[in-house]
């Protein structure tokens, strides 16, 4: 269990947490959002490994966010842990239900159907007064098992909360990637028929991936809702999904860490472009995406692997 990767992960996690105390609040909030979104990206990586790219992952993100907002508004729930679990659960259930359809689709048709589903939610939210219509509505600051911080303290509490959720998710998904179901992603992408002939249902494997990815997106959405303090229908719009896919391409599907690095780089590039070139931040993002696809087809994560491969071979890809 205590592999080198996990050890490095634990060190980075602690470092990130401690650094938070020395950063200005705006930067802490930027990191919080980056790590919350990284969970959505982690889910997309699971799917992308199997060759699936959904253009509607915002459906689950938005489900998680609205669950938090509605629970807080209608049921007066304010505990961050309860809200988080509810957000993940609702999104997971939505993913489980939509999965019966989506798991049968591939390639562009998969992308399109998932897009349609997220746009349905958008259409409903935009036109429903009781759900806040186009403006959405605010989310009150959450409590943490009775602890109710304000101002900067709330920012730090949320930052730590998000970090812990990320660490747990990274561990779990790390185990999943090495498992039979997780490792079958590449075989599914390479040759689905062969997988079926080896005696396992590809549809059910993909269904499981959809539920995991959807739950992660819901958790990310729940965290984003608490951090931003507001939800609106744009969380389900296709551009939100597009943004997540963007980060996934940027990150690459190489490892769990890629999701977090990619998301962080994305938020930094976006904020930087927004501050320095206010009229051209979309263009900057577009150019970064183009360059990534053209010159780094396996994403930022492949930089690390390339570097590692140049070192003399110490040990083959052994296991057991």
């Amino acid at each position: 269990m205590l592999s080198r990767a996990n050890l490095i992960g634990a060190v980075l996690f602690l470092a990130a947490g401690i650094i938070g105390f020395f950063l200005p609040p705006w930067l802490v909030s930027l990191l919080t959002i980056a790590f919350a979104n990284a969970l959505v990206v982690l889910g997309l990586i699971i799917l992308w490994r199997a060759g699936l790219v959904p253009f509607g992952q915002a459906l689950y993100y938005c489900s998680g966010a609205y669950t938090v907002a509605l629970l807080a508004r209608w049921a007066g729930v304010s505990d961050a842990f309860v809200l988080l679990i509810a957000g993940g659960l609702v999104a997971g259930i939505v993913a489980f239900l939509t999965g019966f359809l989506l798991a049968r689709y591939r390639e562009i048709f998969f992308a399109m159907l998932s897009l349609a589903m997220s746009m349905i939610l958008y259409g409903v939210l935009v036109k429903t007064e009781t759900l806040g219509s186009t403006d959405g509505f605010g989310v009150d600051p959450p409590h943490f098992l009775g602890y109710a911080p304000h101002g900067d303290a709330l920012g730090f509490a949320l930052y730590w909360f998000v970090l812990v959720v990320c660490a747990i998710s990274a561990l779990v998904i790390g185990v999943y990637f090495k498992s039979v179901a997780g490792a079958l992603a590449v075989p599914i992408r390479d040759n689905e028929i062969r997988v079926e002939f080896l005696g396992i249902s590809v549809t059910r494997l993909i269904h499981m991936k959809l539920v995991i990815a959807g739950t992660l997106a819901g958790v990310g959405g729940a965290l984003a809702a608490m951090t931003i303090g507001h939800v609106d229908p744009n969380m389900s719009y296709w551009t939100t999904s597009g943004g997540f896919v963007f980060v996934t391409i940027l990150a690459g599907a190489g490892s769990v860490a890629a999701a977090f690095v990619g998301s962080l780089v994305f938020e930094i590039v976006r904020s930087f472009a927004f501050a320095v070139l206010p009229g051209f931040w979309q263009m900057t993002l577009g150019i970064v995406l183009l360059l990534t696809i053209l010159f780094l087809p396996e994403g930022l994560g492949s930089l690390a692997t390339r570097f590692r491969r140049r070192k003399p071979d110490t040990k083959p890809v052994a296991t057991s």
Binding site: A181, A183, D190
Partner: protein, 263 residues
């Protein structure tokens, strides 16, 4: 001897095209059956129906007494019928070892998806199985080579080794030697057949090379126009005038392999 696999009245039509008709036969356990016939004679359709890739239009297939007609291929594999493919079906972006791990891990699974999400694909017992299998099929030298860069013969062996990973009782080989040079064909078949014999597997293989059929099959089925026109020992089947006329061609005494028409 009771049949491990028995088909009766099998028929498959695609619109007005009849790909298979009136196929009825029994295969006893541990027999090695060669299937011959020109391209389009229905050999692959026959294999596809038994392994669940195609659902027969009519007729039934029984395996160890159970009706398996129309079951999905994964269920049929789980019950104990595996297959290899005319064009080797492997996972190009994985190494030979990882290809075998995937196949072995699926085979060793209990069919529950929760446990598939928790067990490691590189668990010691899986790796051990894989190491034995790649020795048996003589592909251990390529253990860490990506499947996309394998020589054709090794890729075919990997394909078959993956099919055998599930410890099937019946194995269907669809043209195991297609795409292999004449010199390598016998060597490949020797490796495959001795590996299968060691595991007491009933084999049905589709083959164009009559010398290979004669050498390895206990029994030969000749397909023509979607049905079986001859069924017997290699000598009996290949000796029939109709088989010679329609499939093997008159014995021209060319170097081996040339006698079978490929068009």
């Amino acid at each position: 001897m009771s049949a491990i696999l028995s088909v009766s009245g099998l028929e498959k039509t695609f619109g007005s095209v009849v790909a298979a008709r009136d196929i009825s036969l029994d295969i006893p356990a541990q027999q090695t059956v060669g299937v011959i016939g020109a391209n389009g004679a229905g050999k692959t359709t026959f294999v596809n129906m038994i392994t669940g890739h195609l659902t027969p239009t009519k007729g039934s297939i029984h395996f160890e007494g159970k009706d398996i007609t129309g079951l999905p291929s994964r269920d049929i594999t789980q019950m104990g019928i595996s297959r290899s493919f005319q064009v080797a079906q492997v996972f190009p972006s994985l190494s030979v070892f990882d290809n075998m791990c995937a196949a072995t891990a699926i085979a060793r699974g209990d069919g529950r998806f929760i446990s598939a999400a928790l067990r490691s694909v590189h668990a010691p017992e899986i790796a051990a199985d894989v190491n034995v299998a790649i020795e048996l099929f003589q592909i251990a030298a390529y253990r860490d080579t990506l499947a996309s860069t394998l020589p054709q013969g090794i890729r075919k062996l990997l394909d078959i080794a993956m099919a055998v990973a599930g410890a099937p009782r019946v194995l269907l080989l669809d043209e195991p030697t297609s795409g292999i040079s004449i010199e390598e064909k016998f060597q490949l078949m020797d490796v495959v057949m001795s590996a299968l014999k060691a595991r007491n597997i009933t084999v049905l293989f589709v083959e164009h090379d009559m010398e290979i059929v004669e050498r390895f099959a206990d029994r030969v089925l000749a397909f023509y126009d979607g049905t079986v026109i001859a069924d017997g020992t290699p000598g009996e089947t290949l000796g029939q005038a109709r088989v010679q006329e329609l499939i093997t061609g008159a014995k021209l005494k060319l170097p081996h392999g040339e006698a079978s028409p490929h068009a």
